[in-house]
């Protein structure tokens, strides 16, 4: 070997070498944290994309054909107003691209010792699908004593203006059985909320008062009377006739609110 080669090898030997024994754990943690924060920011920023449009009641519409003759006279053609000529701004010179400096060739670093197995595309999708399945199974466990039907996740379409007709259909079937205690002095005491779960055949699987209603019932005899009247109404008017193919949209009703204030003129 020449003397210069020896010298350079010695030089290389003296230079500090990066260790290859431990993977950088801190690096993983920080990376995961920042990626998680990015995902959270995206979710928070786009949260309202999936929101429901304000509920609109189905309004019956009459189609009326307008006759050939109308009383509307054609307006006079608009007088053309002088329009400012569009001035095209001078084309801007694109800013000069930054000049990249050629980096100095890195020193002779030997590649890290762990192996990278280039995975095939098929393996990638299989693993990912298995991961998703595992997650969706754990997400919500239905209550043990509910005999509710299977849940199908329909994605974005579950909560939007399309469910207003379902709410109206349920309202129109429950109200006939509801006899609120209208003689109470304070109508605000009579507003009660429930969480209702329905079976696919429209019968009641479970009916529970909301926590706010349960607390109010304990302290006020009028609220208790109102809650009991609402329970009786819900049980008496079952089974509810709702479209079976949209069961996922009406399986859970929360809140099912009974509000007699309008009825009492308050």
């Amino acid at each position: 070997m020449s003397q210069s080669q020896n010298a350079s090898r010695a030089k290389a030997l003296r230079r500090p070498r990066p260790t290859t024994a431990d993977p950088p754990l801190l690096g993983y943690a920080v990376s995961l944290l920042f990626h998680g924060a990015l995902v959270a920011a995206v979710i928070i920023g786009f949260r309202h994309t999936f929101d429901v449009a304000p509920e609109t009641h189905a309004v019956p519409v009459d189609l009326v054909t307008v006759t050939d003759r109308t009383n509307v006279r054609a307006e006079a053609p608009p007088v053309p107003k002088p329009v400012k000529p569009i001035v095209t701004p001078p084309a801007n010179e694109p800013p000069p691209l930054p000049q990249f400096q050629e980096a100095e060739p890195s020193p002779d670093i030997t590649a890290p010792k762990f192996k990278v197995r280039p995975e095939t595309k098929k393996e990638q999708t299989q693993d990912f699908a298995a991961l998703l399945n595992k997650l969706t199974k754990d997400v919500k466990v239905p209550p043990k004593n509910a005999k509710a039907g299977p849940r199908t996740i329909t994605g974005i379409g579950a909560m939007n203006g399309m469910t207003a007709d379902l709410a109206d259909a349920l309202k129109s079937q429950i109200y006939r059985c509801w006899s609120p205690p209208v003689g109470a002095p304070n109508a605000n005491d009579l507003v009660v909320d429930f969480d209702l779960q329905l079976n696919p055949d429209g019968t009641v699987a479970s009916l529970r008062p909301s926590s706010g209603t349960a607390m109010a019932v304990a302290g006020n005899s009028y609220t208790r009377a109102a809650a009991e009247a609402a329970r009786r109404a819900t049980y008496q008017c079952q089974p509810y006739k709702l479209p079976g193919d949209r069961y996922a949209q009406w399986r859970d009703v929360s809140p099912l609110r009974f509000d007699p204030r309008e009825l009492m003129g308050q």
Partner: protein
């Protein structure tokens, strides 16, 4: 690649958490169909052979009470497919659901060895399949109707949230004789029309009112051709003139604690409101206006008095503190408004409205707002409240000189019906719940 999986796992977990398909349907029921509650009340089970009639009687009165309130619909016992043999066993709810009962009353009655009659009952929620309330009531056999009324009160209170009113009495003026020579006698009866009792004979009597213990009645009478306020003690039968005033006294009403009577004193065409302390017999004058001030009624806390005055030009309703201060008008609607009565619940005032040719019963809030007419007859006047502030009675005069009757109506204006009296009747006043 492992790093990629970790990131995707986090993203997928967060994404699944905000899956919008988990959101529920929101329903707001604001329309209703108020119907009386269908309730099954079989005859009470008899513990011994002699108790069967009591069991049937008590159940019959409970059915009648609840039906009369307009909030319950007792199912005809002939429609029952099951019966109660023992009130301590849980009923087969399906057999009561099938006749559309939502409530079920199971009761039994027994004559105890000490000579007292005892009744037990349970109120069952047929849909919820649970007991709502249960009680045991004992009384002397002659008071069996009171046992039934107390059971009705317990059922009413448990279902509506409001106190009942069935164990009460009504004092009123019983009329007899032709229109030209009507004899009016003071009478007392149960709220359902049973047990009528005449207290006076031959004197012209008006505006009787109970005191809070229902042991005394104050009323106005024309003994000696000059109207005077008298107190009648129901227990001793003693009658006593209230105060010795030279002129007319009328429109008496007890304070909620029973210690005072507010009344009107007339002096040279001017009427003013005074309060007399029943213990010391001291008299305090509350109004000094030259107009006619009358018909005082205390608030349930005894701190305020609502009354009628024509100081503004026509009869209207005014309010003042119990010491006479802060007199101010609260009725501003058209027509003349008088005979105000404060509800025992404290939230409303009932009154008589005269508007052109109509005379009706109305209710308003204590500040004068929210006025509603709740009766619909030709001439309805002189309202009185049930102790729960929910039901009212009043005098309805029939057209054509056919005399007067007592009618009752719910504060919502519903369930207007005639109260059973021995003949024509007027000026009803409702007692508090009998202790």
């Amino acid at each position: 690649m492992k790093k990629l999986f970790a990131v995707l796992a986090v993203a997928a977990a967060l994404g699944a958490l905000c899956n919008p398909a988990l959101a529920a349907l929101q329903v707001d029921v604001t329309n209703a169909n108020p119907q009386p509650l269908p309730i099954a009340i079989p005859d009470f089970v008899a513990a011994g052979p002699g108790d069967a009639q009591s069991g049937a009687n008590i159940a019959g009165v409970v059915r009648a009470d609840l039906e009369r309130s307009g909030l319950f619909k007792p199912i005809d016992p002939k429609a029952f497919v099951d019966h109660i043999a023992n009130i301590n066993t849980v009923p087969t709810f399906a057999n009561w659901r099938v006749i559309n009962a939502q409530g079920l009353v199971a009761g039994d009655v027994v004559m105890q060895p000490d000579g007292q009659l005892r009744a037990d009952f349970r109120l069952w929620d047929v849909y919820g399949e649970s007991q709502m309330t249960g009680q045991q009531i004992t009384a002397s056999p002659g008071d069996w109707r009171r046992i039934a009324h107390k059971i009705s009160d317990a059922i009413y209170e448990r279902v509506t949230g409001e106190k009942g009113y069935f164990d009460t009495r009504i004092v009123f003026i019983a009329e007899s004789g032709p229109a030209t020579k009507r004899a009016k006698r003071l009478a007392v009866m149960d709220e359902d029309g049973a047990n009528p009792n005449f207290l006076t004979n031959g004197y012209m009597v008006l505006t009787p009112r109970f005191n809070p213990t229902a042991q005394m009645i104050a009323y106005m009478s024309y003994i000696g051709a000059k109207p005077r306020v008298y107190l009648f003690d129901l227990e001793t039968g003693r009658q006593e003139m209230l105060g010795n005033f030279p002129n007319m006294t009328f429109s008496p009403r007890f304070s909620p604690d029973g210690n005072k009577v507010a009344l009107s004193l007339e002096n040279g065409g001017n009427s003013d409101i005074f309060v007399m302390d029943l213990r010391s017999r001291a008299i305090t004058r509350l109004t000094t206006d030259p107009a006619i001030d009358t018909a005082p009624s205390f608030s349930p806390d005894g701190r305020q008095i609502v009354f009628e005055s024509d100081r503004g030009g026509s009869q209207q309703i005014y309010m003042m503190n119990a010491d006479g201060s802060n007199q101010h008008r609260i009725s501003f609607s058209q027509g003349r408004n008088g005979t105000p009565v404060w509800s025992p619940r404290g939230d409303m005032i009932a009154f008589t409205k005269v508007d052109q040719s109509r005379i009706d019963i109305g209710v308003m809030r204590t500040d004068g707002s929210g006025e509603r007419i709740i009766s619909s007859g030709w001439e309805d006047e002189g309202p009185t409240w049930a102790p729960n502030g929910r039901v009212l009675m009043f005098t309805r005069t029939l057209e054509g000189g056919r005399g007067a009757q007592i009618w009752s109506v719910d504060v919502t204006g519903r369930n207007e019906r005639r109260v059973l009296t021995p003949g024509n009747a007027s000026d009803p006043a409702w007692s508090p719940l009998i202790q």
